[in-house]
Amino acid sequence: MRMTDRDAEFVGFTHDHRPDLVRMATLLTAGDASSAEDLVQTTLTRLYLAWPRVRRADNRLGYARTTLTHVFVDETRRAHRRWERSADGLPDRAAATGLAPEERDAVHAALRDLAPRQRAVVVLRHWLDLDVAETARVLDCSTGTVKSQTAKALAHLRAALTPDPTTL
């Protein structure tokens, strides 16, 4: 099949940025690799359909990350439990990270304990470094909601991931 401009641009974008989206999806799904892959596939399909708009975006990766967040929130609304299915299991495989497997699993477990939107807030605010207003815009909620969700999520993550000095 002939390669259109849309095809060529999409292929170039996917080649360059699919790993970025997989990484974000990995955090959003708390390390569930198969769910993360589903999210990324859905996101890229939406991007292909909307490519005329993606093409006009100042920041295509930013547009894609927003789409990924919306796909994630949308999916969790429709099938909330689906994202919790790996709560008792380990991620599909050990990703190549700088963390030891048990450390990585602890981080994913801590993320898994958060509500999906809290997880999204953490990823947007503390991994992508979006400000409160931008995070609120991506999640279609108020800045107050972002602040309160951030506070709750951070309290949980600190408690779960900070070593207990009495055990050292």
Partner: protein, 213 residues
């Protein structure tokens, strides 16, 4: 002290779960297939709409002599009752710009807070304050309400009533902050997919004035 960013960055992995180079081909296949499905769906919807228009036009002709037609019949039976086709061309409707253009429609008029887009067949009033049969594009800060629909990474709110369907979505980052709305007249050939695509293609310029109320 927990360095959350570094911890998350390392827990995110390298984005290559199988450790293999990125192969965009499967994503391209899925995208193309989705595009084909969407095109078929729209064609089917368009044929259905044309069939309904044909039945309605025959009904009008049989029910009422031409000399007794009401002014509103001009809009109801106009050629734009056929399914609207969106083409990939920019429609400048200052202060708005659309990435898609409805074939057979163009900018009608402007008020300080609204731009109208009208069918090219002259079936609508030249009065800029008469919105019957026209698309009305507005920017405001009113609350979003109605049915929520996710499309291409954006959320849209849809309400219907009074012969119109109104769609609204927050403006994009970098645009003037607010809610951009389009009021679509019922029976003018706009199905929901077309409305969503058209509104989703809008860019709101800096000079857009938010309406009040």
């Amino acid at each position: 002290m927990l360095d959350l960013r570094t911890t998350l960055d390392r827990a995110a992995g390298d984005g290559r779960p199988d450790g293999r180079p990125v192969d965009p081909a499967p994503d391209l296949r899925r995208g193309r297939a989705a595009l084909v499905r969407r095109t078929r769906r729209r064609r089917a919807a368009g044929l259905g709409a044309l069939a309904l228009v044909g039945v309605a036009a025959v009904g009008v002709a049989l029910d009422r002599p031409a000399t007794q037609r009401l002014p509103s019949d001009t809009v109801a039976s106009s050629p734009v009752d056929a399914q609207v086709a969106l083409v990939a061309a920019t429609l400048e409707a200052e202060p708005y710009a659309f990435g898609l253009t409805p074939r057979g429609w163009g900018v009608g008029g402007r008020t300080p807070t609204a731009v109208t887009i009208v069918p090219d067949d002259g079936s609508t009033s030249a009065d800029p304050d008469d919105f019957r049969g026209k698309l009305v594009v507005m920017l405001d800060a009113n609350p979003l309400d109605g049915r929520e629909v996710e499309r291409d990474g954006r959320t849209f709110w849809i309400t219907s009533g009074g012969g119109y369907t109104t769609m609204a979505t927050p403006t994009l980052p970098g645009e003037r902050e607010g809610v951009v709305r389009i009021q679509f007249p019922d029976g003018a050939g706009w199905d929901e997919d077309a409305m969503l695509d058209f509104l989703g293609s809008v860019r709101v310029g800096d000079t857009a004035e938010p309406g009040v109320g």
